[in-house]
């Protein structure tokens, strides 16, 4: 009991170790890396817009967004989708993970998050913030509505960029999420709906000048066209690079996903390499528990019978 309480992971029997590593460990690494990459991207996109605005506000450190938006962005509008991805995401099934242990190699080699991946997230954030700032800048500079009233004020511009930002980062998490459970659906669409609901209701909590800004934004045609353009400019390259990579240099994970998608893999435990642990179906008088009083597997292992079986079997061919 003490050992369990002081450990990070505890398993009841040795046969669970394989699942712990190949299924849960691999998924955990995948989720953690995706989470980190997305988090850096999201925050760089959010913050750098202020940098671009500084060039137009006399470098007076004027914030672009509503103070309420700044407070709520990281906590309420964008945290739940990435949290749901971090909890539920899977790239392949658990059966496939066990069947192809080589899927574990990205974890060994640190392929999914390293300095290069971090720099890629940062670069993605920089480019996104440039598009998110300058396309509304070009659209709303000297802009007027159909009724002639001004749409080129600071608060409306801040609202435009905030709304586009929330939608763009939600689109990015939607692209990153590979396993859409009902929870993912609820939090992703719900976060966007929550943003609109709170901004429409609370826009005048701190700054009275933001009152009515979202309503004027949503009722202007320029906003919707600019939004569509920004979304496509930021989503299409991501989709294109992923498509290119899965077409020309598919990783083992991509190939397994494709195989899983095309044909339903049924678990065939007899053909698996882990011959040793296939004895779970049979009751054994031997116990794997270290402190058991019964006879354990010691004599069986040291006799070399199991090792001989491994050597004689040919490895399962990879598709």
């Amino acid at each position: 009991m003490q050992a369990v309480l002081s450990s990070d992971f505890s398993i009841a029997q040795f046969r669970f170790l394989e699942r712990l590593l190949l299924v849960h460990g691999r998924w955990s690494y995948l989720r953690m890396c995706k989470f980190l990459r997305y988090f850096f991207y999201k925050n760089f996109t959010f913050t750098l817009c202020h940098l671009w605005y500084a060039f137009f506000s006399g470098f007076s450190a004027q914030t672009l967004y509503d103070p309420i938006f700044i407070s709520c962005y990281n906590v309420f509008y964008t945290s739940l989708p990435v949290l749901a991805m971090g909890i539920f995401d899977q790239d392949v099934d658990d059966r496939v993970s066990l069947r192809y242990p080589l899927l574990y190699t990205p974890g060994h080699e640190g392929l999914l998050f390293n300095k290069l991946e971090f720099l890629k997230s940062v670069a993605h954030g920089i480019v996104s913030s440039l598009i998110l700032f300058f396309i509304p800048y070009g659209t709303f500079r000297n802009a007027v509505s159909t009724d002639g009233v001004n749409l080129d004020d600071h608060q409306l511009f801040g609202t435009v960029v905030s709304t586009m930002l929330v939608l763009v980062v939600t689109a990015q998490i939607a692209l990153d999420t590979a396993y859409w459970t009902i929870f993912n659906h609820v939090v992703i669409w719900g976060s966007v709906a929550f943003y609109f609901a709170t901004t429409l209701v609370l826009s005048d909590l701190f700054e009275m000048s933001y009152l009515g800004a979202l309503r004027m934004t949503l009722s202007s045609g320029q906003f919707w066209f600019a939004l569509f353009l920004v979304l496509t400019i930021l989503v299409v390259p991501v989709v294109a690079t992923r498509f290119y990579r899965t077409s020309t240099q598919p990783s083992l994970s991509d190939r397994c996903r494709y195989k899983q998608r095309v044909s339903r893999l049924r678990a065939r435990p007899e053909r698996l390499v882990r011959r040793g642990s296939a004895r779970t179906s049979r009751r054994s008088v031997r116990s794997g528990y270290a402190f058991a009083h019964q006879e354990g597997f010691g004599r069986l292992i040291t006799s070399g019978k199991i090792m001989k079986q491994h050597k004689s079997e040919a490895p399962t061919p990879m598709p």
Partner: protein, 392 residues
């Protein structure tokens, strides 16, 4: 003989619900929840990219066309000269900031009819209304009718009058720098050689939500008092809402003046007071003056334009459907100094389309993006055909 006994499954709905709940919880804990696993295949990605490219180019062309149909006339009058005088109006203001009444005249011609509705804007350049210190130096609370002296507005919080500190309304730098040039336009009818003033409307130029935010503290006057018992729900300021000069104890402009009597105007306003902003229209006077509301909606960028007035397209007049082409005279009351900070002032006459004024940025951006995307789709198709992995 053996009789077969059939056991009929009679689970109650409660049991079924419990089963469903248990299976869902099990799926959740075992990470086997039903899920959608999207995968980018050639069949979904490439056609949608292609459609997107075509749509972008089409939308871009449409937006460019709409924007080019907007008619706009611009006139930079920063260095205009008065009819009589040795220096330009700008120079006169520089030399003597207290000088008033410098008027410039311009003659301009519109080559085509400007279709209704036509709007008049003034534009300023190199003017950082979005500067942090500028935007913070105002008091929204005061603007909503609850007059107070707020330290946010320092140094334009108090003005010294005869040794006494009197609080300013509207306080702050934003109020102090209220744009005070005014324009009058006449149409020169060449046939009859008469100049007819173009009717302008100074209301309906601000956001409706802003109009609900700015209030004159009119009820404040009577707030410490109440109506006689027999009047029930009728109050003294409701006696004739249609005619403000016949309302309350007397005339509303007077009441407005009384209400603001403990406050003064910002220094740059000189002799102009807040109750004089639109004496003809009491609904547009005081803090509800729409030009003031428009000014307080601080601009996002250093070059901006603000709506000054709408052309009054009176039914039956020559302006019913458009601002007709022809010769026009413009009289500018030049009061606002801009050459100190290298700014420029312009007058803009423009109409709008359903996506706003003249702005070709979005159209061009869509077209460029659409073209790049179509090229990229073709490249991807080529790469996929030649180098794409065929999964066995």
């Amino acid at each position: 003989m053996r009789t077969k006994v059939r056991i009929i499954n009679t689970k109650s709905s409660k049991d079924k619900f419990n089963e469903f709940l248990e299976s869902t919880i099990k799926a959740f804990k075992q990470q086997q929840l039903p899920a959608w696993k999207p995968f980018f295949t050639c069949g979904t990605v490439l056609p949608s990219f292609f459609l997107l490219g075509i749509a972008s180019v089409t939308i871009g062309v449409g937006l460019l066309f709409l924007s080019s149909r907007v008619q706009q006339f611009e006139l930079d009058y920063t260095h205009c000269w008065p009819l009589y005088g040795m220096t330009s109006c700008a120079q006169r203001l520089e030399d003597n900031p207290d000088s008033e009444g410098c008027k410039c005249w311009y003659k301009f011609e519109l080559n085509e009819d400007f279709e209704s509705s036509v709007y008049i804007y003034y534009a300023l350049t190199n003017y950082y209304q979005n500067h942090r210190m500028y935007e913070n130096s105002m008091d929204s609370y005061q603007l909503s009718g609850k007059l107070q002296a707020s330290s946010d507005c320092a140094p334009y919080q108090y003005k010294e009058i005869y040794g006494q500190l009197v609080p300013i309304v509207p306080c702050g730098i934003v109020g102090n720098t209220f744009f005070n040039d005014s324009f009058r336009i006449w149409r020169h009818d060449l046939i009859s050689d008469l100049a007819q003033e173009v009717p302008l409307l100074f209301t309906g130029i601000s956001w409706p939500s802003d109009q609900n935010m700015f209030h004159n503290p009119i009820e404040v006057v009577y707030s410490n008092f109440t109506n006689p018992p027999n009047w029930r729900h009728r109050h003294i300021w409701q006696l004739d809402p249609k005619n403000p000069n016949n309302n309350g104890l007397r005339n509303e402009a007077l009441i407005v003046k009384v209400v603001y009597s403990n406050f003064t105007n910002p220094p740059n306003w000189r002799h102009r007071h807040i109750w004089q902003l639109d004496p003809k229209n009491p609904n547009n006077n005081g803090l509800r003056n729409e030009a003031l509301i428009v000014w307080f909606r601080t601009a996002a960028f250093p070059e901006f334009r603000k709506l000054y007035a709408r052309i009054n397209h009176l039914i039956g007049s020559v302006y019913e459907r458009s601002l007709p082409n022809g010769h026009y005279f413009l009289e500018i009351s030049y009061n606002y100094p801009v050459i100190k900070f290298d700014g420029h002032k312009s007058l803009i006459i423009s109409n709008t389309s359903w996506i706003g004024g003249r702005n070709s940025f979005l159209g061009i951006a869509y077209i460029i993006f659409g073209v790049i995307e179509l090229i990229m789709t073709l490249c991807l198709l080529f790469i996929y055909k030649k180098y794409g992995m065929r999964y066995s």
